[in-house]
Amino acid sequence: MPKFLTSINAISWYFLFPVIFIHFFVVAFPSILSLLLCLTDWNGFGRINYVGLENFQELFRDRVFKKAVKHNIIWTVMFLTIPVIVALIIAYLLTGIKRGQLFYRLVYFFPYILASIVNCLIWRYIFHPRHGLGGWFENQGIDFLAKSPFAMKETALYAVAWVDMWHFWGFLVIIYLTGMYQVDDSLYEAADIEGATKFQKFRYITLPMIRPIFVLSLIIIIIWSVPTFDYVYILTMGGPAYSSEVVANHLYSQAFQRMNVGYASTIGVMMFFYVGIIVGFFAILRRMGWEV
């Protein structure tokens, strides 16, 4: 056998082949197929007509798409702040706890293992104006939560995000916690001798030490926020009045409700580019020597 086929470099490719093959086959190839469709007006069934860049022009006129993009940005910012801060604080508090730690970790993580449909069911019930909290307050004679936050255009997006964050933040706690446990105890002991406050220890020891894992969690959040779909779809369908519409949801309704498969693919292309830019950005950071 020629040497270049048995070199360690070649062999390492052989080991990679199955995963690349299966993933290309299931995800990449049909995605490419779908990307071709963005130049057509296909409705999913009938004739396929080439329409050039018409779909892209349409996209820039599309009021709902713009709204959805805005919501995706809000969504990302919310997830980059609220659950991250809460999880950091809770994880830090947990490191100082001896008794009951296992219990807390178990509880915080628990919603993360539940199916989205189960989580949505719980919160839809709790926020139901006639049952749940609204009904409970009504029974007490208090007019609170008499309107479902999922049904008000001012709050729908945040209410959906709340449910998603409720299910997600425990995951971050666990990630940060493990990072914090890798910090050498002697650092804290030295700080104690210097008389550092709890916050100072957090700021000058914990945070720098867990930076790699912290940055990683941010990347995960940014990337996962792009195709976010389940919670919006199950809870509000993007409504009322598109006030909780996100891009993946818009794509879905174009493809499956309005049968504009070609146009839906165009939205997919935009998502794809966006993710490409983010991934490229972090790749460059990494090249520049960042430990991310």
């Binding site: 057509t40 069934f45 080439y50 049904a151 309704s253």
Partner: protein
């Protein structure tokens, strides 16, 4: 060039899936829309009864929860059932374009289906001059009211906009909601209201002209109708008290609310007969119904019944047993008394076939309120006095827009005129794409 490569590539992939049907020769499989309440009755009175009466064709009824999601892939793949249900003509139009549904014209001629069905109902399945679908059920929008409550307060049922608004004020003064309704669980519920206001404010004549393109949807009567709906929904909170609660209530919620005096009226389709009768059966109140009040003199005379088909039946283009499927359909259409018996045991909320019923076909024990609807509607629709629902007469894209973007009007983000302009644009597009569904001559 690009065009060509794409076409070849994609059509190749598509055609590769039109595989042969896998079912045995004498067996006809029918995918029906499932509903837990009605499935056992349909199985017993339709499917089993058919199989018991003859042995040429064996009918297997499969009840599918999510038929709209599953039938599309199944048809595309060529492995679907011989017969299937759809929610309405806009779906059939798409399947017909794609060659996925079989023309039933030869069967219609052979068995004389045109004579058996109500004219408008037959026409709703005719595309390019051929019959592709038959309505399984027809329905229209009416309103129910709590008769006892109305008598107690000396209220009379409203016939004009002024009467509606003054009655609404009286009902609200009693601490009740005017109408019970909600869209949780079925977002397109909005279109029921849009259709009602189009037909009772702008009037069936104008809606007809707009449907066939002789009138613009941006004309003042339509814009005013939407503005009135916006006012009644948002400013007045006619439905369940306020917009947000309307968004949050589902079928059981609002039916309960109506039956327990949370609301005085229920503006809904005739599919509400069954649940209303059941719920009121447990209360001391009595109920009745009326055709919708006419909100504007240009909307013509009462009664204002909008035509709607609730589900259709069709034959799969790749079915090997189309002849057998046609026999099933003919069996269903051929006995009016049996058809009434089936729909009667379903509370007339399902399987109300659009046949030409006469007085003699009815069971003497039928609820008089129910019978009044059946005979009055048949009379009115046969004499050409009818309106149009959006879900039976709108093509797909404008049809989604009309309920989805209605929320945007309610939210105050766009004006009724902007809403109707977008609707008109989508209609123009659909007309240019030849995506319209049959309306029939008025």
């Amino acid at each position: 060039m690009m065009n060509k490569i794409l076409k070849i590539f994609l059509t190749f992939i598509l055609t590769a899936f039109f595989a042969t049907s896998t079912f045995a020769a004498t067996k006809v499989v029918w995918w029906m829309e499932s509903s837990a309440d009605t499935d056992p009755t349909v199985q017993e009175m339709m499917c089993d009864a058919f199989n018991a009466e003859q042995d040429e064709v064996e009918l297997e009824c499969v009840f599918k929860e999510d038929i709209n999601d599953t039938i599309r892939p199944a048809l595309l793949s060529g492995s679907g059932p011989d017969m299937f249900d759809t929610p309405g003509a806009s779906y059939i139009k798409i399947y017909q374009d794609a060659g996925l549904v079989k023309s039933m014209q030869e069967y219609a001629d052979q068995y004389g289906w045109q004579d058996k069905l109500l004219g408008w109902a037959y026409n709703s399945g005719v595309f390019d001059g051929e019959l592709y679908s038959i309505p399984k059920n027809y329905e229209t929008m009416i309103y129910f009211y709590n008769k006892t409550l109305f008598e107690e307060n000396g209220w009379s049922t409203p016939n004009t906009l002024e009467e509606v608004e003054s009655l609404a004020a009286k009902i609200k003064a009693k601490g009740m909601n005017v109408y019970a309704y909600g869209s949780a669980g079925w977002q397109p519920t909005h279109e029921h209201l849009v259709g009602n206001y189009f037909n009772t404010y702008a009037g069936p004549e104008n809606v007809y002209k707009a449907l066939i393109g002789e009138k613009k949807w941006t004309d003042p009567e339509f814009v005013e109708a939407i503005e009135l709906l916006r006012k009644h929904m948002v400013d007045e909170g006619y439905w369940s008290g306020d917009l947000e609660t309307y968004y949050s209530l589902d079928w059981d919620d609002f039916n309960n609310e109506f039956a327990t005096r949370g609301s005085a009226m229920l503006m809904i389709g005739t599919w509400g007969f069954n649940v209303t009768a059941t719920n009121f059966g447990e209360s001391s109140d009595d109920w009745d119904w009326n055709p919708l009040p006419i909100l504007n003199s240009q909307a013509g005379s009462a009664p204002n019944y909008q035509l709607a088909t609730g589900g259709t039946m069709s034959i799969n283009a790749s079915s090997k047993n189309a002849d057998g499927a046609a026999k099933v359909i003919d069996w269903i259409l051929s006995d009016k008394a049996r058809a009434l018996k089936v729909t009667g045991s379903l509370g007339y909320g399902a399987w109300l076939l659009p046949l030409k019923y006469t007085d003699a076909d009815f069971d003497p024990n039928i609820d008089p309120r129910q019978k009044r609807f059946l005979t009055e509607f048949a009379e009115a629709s046969d004499s050409g006095n009818y309106g149009y629902t959006t879900w039976t007469f709108y093509p797909n894209d404008p049809g989604v827009h009309i309920w989805k973007d209605m929320e945007v009007v309610w939210a105050g983000d766009i004006t009724p005129l902007e809403f109707m302009e977008e609707s008109q644009r989508l209609w123009d597009q659909a007309r240019a794409d030849d995506a319209l569904v049959p309306v029939g001559k008025r």
